[in-house]
Every structure is written in structure tokens, then in C-alpha cells.
């Protein structure tokens, strides 16, 4: 039984009339944790509570065995924090900034400098480390933010929307970095995001919040296994004719976005190809809908997804 990384027992936090976190109890073990939910679901409040920057109205928390209430500095000494928003002093070089944050975290000067070089190399900024942050691109700034969060080698990192504003290649590189970070022994992180795709394939545990309530938590594999999807078809050609054709074959297709979902009994894919041949369309994709964290989320919160009467 692994030691709990984060324990939350019956925590509530209210701002005025809004209950940001509502009687939340959850236990997370070390590893890569996805903290997911829509805007305003309480992700940020939870991080603030865990960092000891807010006090809960009721309940108690424990991070790495420390109570952020009683010993906030003890918690903050062991964690790193990568904020979502821009937070870099533009007048410093990458190396100067990261080394400085290392010293603020309590590293001796020489150690801080050598660690800063290490982590900047780790995040792929070795060549740009002496340049001023004001000259950095969006992707480079995200990397510096990650570097400053891990400079003091904390066993736990809070990463708030690390892929915000990145383009696909930048996002992929950042996720790859986080994967590398997650593979290190004794390094856990909590990834807070509303881009649920980011958490797929990166996180081994997930804590899903909605309106301050936990709607799912635990190992991703178990959660996803409990959520099976139907089949998905993507075609190229005349959608209406294809749909009509599917109906003739006794299937009940549901057009969604640019896909068609349909319940298929095992071994009945043939009807799909027959319909396609009749309608003269190309089947570009056919498969079971892949169970994802996003799919799990959508299934749990009963989204009012506006259906398009196309």
C-alpha cells in the first residue's frame, strides 16, 4: 500500500455565496495526477488549499504528510508550482531567473546555479538560457515556468494549465517533457487542466471536479474501463445519403459533430461498408469510440451539449 501523496478529508471552502469546494474527500497516491474539470469547478481553489495559501472552512488536508494549515512552509518547501498565467520577470535571463527562484526555495547559491543549468537543459532551453526572458516565445516561457517549478527538485509539482496557449508541436513537446518528469522515480505531479486531451496518456490517476464536487477519482485505467463506448464512423462524401443508407440497413446512426456514432453488434461492420458502397462514400475511420478522460468526463457530468439539427 503506497503512502498517500495527498489526503483531503471533508474539505469545504466558500467564497461569499459560492461554494468553491464542497465537502471534498479524496486520497491520491504518488504518480502523475490529472486534476480536471471545467472553469470554476474548484481546481484552483484546491491547489491554493494544498499550498496552504487558503484555509478550509472545514475539514483537513495533508500533502506529503504535512498539514498545509499548520505548516505551510513545510509543504511549500517540498512542492513546486507552475502557474497558468505569465509570471516571469522580463528583465532577467532564463538562467538568472531559475537560479533566483532556486535560492528563494532555499538552495545554497552554488547549488541553485548548477541546478538551474540542469533543469533548463532538461526543459530544452540549454541554448537560450542566457537570453533575456522578454525575448522568449510563448513556448519558451512555458518551459522556463516548468524549470523554475522543479529547480529545487521537489517530490511534488503543481502544474496549472502547462499547455495553455501552445501550438500543437509546442504542446506535444511540453507533454513529452511532463511524461519524462513523471517517469522519474519519486517525482509526482498534479496537472490541472481543462484540456482533457492533455491528461490522456499522461496521467495515471485522475481527480475530476465539477462545481466543487468530486465526480470521479482514482486510477485512470480503472475509471476508463468502466466506461465503454459505441462505434465511431468518419466518412468522406455525402453524409445524408450515407445516413439514409445506414437506416435502411437497420442501424440507428447518431450524427455528432463530424462523426457518426452507431451501436454495432460484433461482426456487423459489414452493413457499414455496404451502406458506404451504396451511398458512394469513403469510410475514413471505423472503430470503437476510444475511451478517454474527456469521454469519461462528458459521460459523468451530463453536459448540455447543444445538438445540431443538421
Amino acid at each position: 500500500m503506497p503512502v498517500a501523496l495527498i489526503e483531503v478529508n471533508g474539505v469545504s471552502k466558500r467564497f461569499g455565496t459560492v461554494e468553491a469546494v464542497s465537502n471534498l474527500s479524496v486520497e491520491l497516491s504518488p504518480g502523475s495526477i490529472g486534476l480536471v474539470g471545467p472553469n470554476g469547478s474548484g481546481k484552483t481553489t484546491l491547489i491554493r488549499l494544498l499550498l496552504g495559501l487558503l484555509s478550509p472552512d472545514s475539514g483537513n488536508l495533508s500533502v506529503l504528510g504535512c498539514d498545509p494549515q499548520r505548516d505551510p512552509l513545510g509543504v511549500r518547501g517540498q512542492v513546486g508550482y507552475m502557474p497558468e498565467h505569465d509570471c516571469l520577470s522580463p528583465d532577467l535571463s532564463g538562467i538568472g531567473f531559475v537560479a533566483h527562484m532556486g535560492r528563494v526555495s532555499g538552495l545554497p547559491k552554488e547549488v541553485a546555479i548548477s541546478r538551474a543549468h540542469d533543469v533548463l537543459e532538461f526543459v530544452g532551453l540549454a541554448e537560450e538560457r542566457y537570453r533575456k526572458i522578454r525575448e522568449y516565445s510563448v513556448g519558451m516561457r512555458q518551459r522556463v515556468k516548468l524549470a523554475q517549478a522543479i529547480v529545487h527538485d521537489p517530490p511534488l509539482c503543481f502544474l496549472d494549465e502547462p499547455t495553455a496557449g501552445l501550438d500543437p508541436s509546442g504542446r506535444e513537446e511540453m507533454l513529452e517533457l511532463l511524461r519524462a518528469l513523471g517517469r522519474l522515480p519519486n517525482h509526482s505531479f498534479v496537472l490541472s487542466t481543462h484540456l482533457l486531451h492533455d491528461a490522456d496518456g499522461l496521467c495515471d490517476q485522475v481527480l475530476m471536479l465539477d462545481a466543487g464536487h468530486c465526480i470521479a477519482s482514482g486510477p485512470v485505467r480503472e475509471l476508463i474501463a468502466s466506461h465503454e463506448g459505441e462505434s465511431v464512423i468518419r466518412i468522406q462524401g455525402d453524409t445524408d445519403r450515407f445516413l439514409a443508407s445506414l437506416l435502411q440497413h437497420g442501424l440507428t446512426p447518431k450524427p455528432m459533430d463530424r462523426e457518426i456514432r452507431v451501436e454495432l453488434a460484433p461482426g456487423t461492420t459489414r452493413a457499414v461498408f455496404e451502406s458506404a458502397a451504396e451511398a458512394g462514400v469513403q469510410v475514413r475511420y471505423l472503430g470503437r469510440s476510444v475511451a478517454t478522460i474527456e469521454g469519461l468526463f462528458l459521460a459523468r457530468v451530463e453536459l448540455p451539449v447543444p445538438e445540431d439539427p443538421t
Binding site: 522568449y136 516565445s137 510563448v138 516561457r141
Partner: protein, 258 residues
Amino acid sequence: MTGQISRMLVVLSLSFRSSLQGLRLFGLAAFAAVPTVLVGAIASTGASPTLLENASELFVGALTLPVVIMVIVLVIAVAQFRNEIDAETLVYLSDRSVGRGTVVFGKFFGAWGASLALALPAALLPFAVVSAAGGGPSSPTVVPAVAASVLLATAAYVGFFLFLGLVSRSALFIGLLFGFLWEELLLLLPGDAPRLTLAFYFRSFLSGEISSGPLAHFAGAVPGTLAAVTLFSVTVAFLVLTVAAFQSLETAPDRGNA
């Protein structure tokens, strides 16, 4: 569809309201209250009405015009374009069908109005305190003269700082140097150097009315009409420059997101 004038009034109201909101209003109002509070404090010591009248006239030249109004106008007028450029909100006005000249005039009158809303009370309320304490002005025209001087001075400063805020990243710093170094130190120099400041003109405009304090040196330096015309022309000149600068202004996206 409404015309450019009523659109300008909307921009004016936006500028006016944005200038006088939040902590900034609180801070600026505190500055504006200083001369009145001081005259009130002197009155509460039971000073004679003549002394009070002297004090309020002294404050206009020594404190209200060079420090209080300067701070108010500097903060309000520079912010008009500078804050919107820094926060990248200027696009909300400049991508609309409203003319850019209309925006400049709206912002000018909004900032001028907001400045006057604070500057006029700062300059005139001390006289109200004097009359409440039973005193009367030394001459019947002193209050209208002070009011006219504040009107012209704020217009000229708002025009200049509006332009500065549009064209310079460090507008507030330049404004600070202009307001407290250029305007003050050049006045101390002999010869024609003081004529290079704006303060010279609105001070000589007042000098016939107020003869105590720093204004006394300017007695009859420039005829009142000439001073008024000069200040008005400076205002118009900077408005024209601002319109021209805004019409050719390009707002580039942030680096890295181009």
C-alpha cells in the same frame, strides 16, 4: 445610426468614467482635497478672514497649480492611450466604425472633464471655505480668474499628456520630468527661458488677480488675452498631433503570437 458627435459623447463618457474609478479615484480625490483641507484647518484655528483669503490665494500658485493639478492631469491624461495600449484594449475602440479623430476628441474631452471634476474643486473650494468663515475675496474677479486659469491650464496639459501617452512607452516618466522639472525649474531662470513653459502663461494670466506667493513675480508679464490664446493654441496643436498620430497608429500583436 447616430452621427459622429453622439459617438464622441459615448467615448467621452467611457474615458471620463474609466478615469474616475476604483483606487485611482480615491487617490486623486485625496490629492484634490488637500488645499481645501489645509484652508479648513487654518480656518479652524480661528485665523482672520483676511489671512484665510491670503492663504487660499497662496495655495493656488504654490500648491494647487504646480503640484495637485499636475498630479491629477498627469495620471488621468497619460492613462487614456497608454493604459489601453499596454492592456491591448485599444482595439475595441479602433476596430469599430467610429472615426479615429472622433475617438481622440472623445478621449480628450473625457480626460479634460475628469481632470476638471477634480481640479476645479481643488482650486475653488478653498475660496468657499473662506466665505463660509466670513471672508470675501480680495477682488470680485479672483474666483472667475482662477477658474479660467484652471480650465486653460488643464486643457493644455491634457492635450500634451494625451499625445505623450499615445506616442511614448515611458510617457508617465517623461510627464513627471516635464511637470516637476521643466515647468518648475525653467520658471526660476532669468530672461526668456520661462516663456518655454506652459506654467508661465497661465500664471501671468492670474498675476493681475493674485499678488502673493509665487504668482507675484509674473505681474503683467504677458497680457491675459495673449496668455489665453497661447494656451488654447497649444491645446489645439497637440490635439491635431494626437489625431495624426492615432490615425497612423498600428497596434501590433504581442511578440511570439504574431
